[in-house]
Amino acid sequence: MADAALSSLLAESSIRLDSHAADRLDAVRQCGQALLEAGAVDESYIDAMLQREQSVSTFVGEGVAIPHGTLAGKEAVKQDALVVLRFPGGVDWDGNDVRVCVGIAAAGGGHIALLSQLAEILLDPAKAEQLRSATQVQQVYDLLTPEDD
């Protein structure tokens, strides 16, 4: 398995387990803000994320959405990174109940491999449930690390 593990792109301070959002765009904005604070993107990336979300929902199922920028927003990416925001109260995502947002900043082709790894995890209903109900940062890390050794 490729060693570009999801967890290596994820700083501990970028995992927020107790977030609250008024609506889906507010949740996207918070993901963008977290990427900004992680030093991964310029502020303009947040607008690119909002644009993408309004053009096509980034809801992928299993109570998870993966907000990210448009192609045009790629220039605003300084380094590939992820943020994980958990919304215990849920966010109404066009009628879907979202509990976890994985915000993505990706400049190059790393994007596809990254999404593929994340999708593999979410295709396992037990792991998806663990991600939705995680209360410890370490639990999120463990889930997003494909192999333990």
Binding site: S57, G61, I112
Partner: protein, 89 residues
Amino acid sequence: MPERTVTIASSVGLHARPASLFSQAAAKAGVPVTLTTKAGKSVNAASILGILSLGIGHGEEVTLSADGDGADAALDSLVALLSTDLDKE
């Protein structure tokens, strides 16, 4: 069973936005559609997670197959979708 082979036209591959548009269209096709990669991995075309898990890049060939009433028409419209650069804004 009717099937079609198509090359992914989207410049960055079948990722979030194109994958989302494609799986939504597959879900509305009225018949179950299967997408198979050249490596032989198959997923339900209506499952965005399934599609994303394959990590399909630009220029890769995939095969779509479906069975039942309207399968041919459904496959034709899905092939047209994959032959379009869905990343174009």
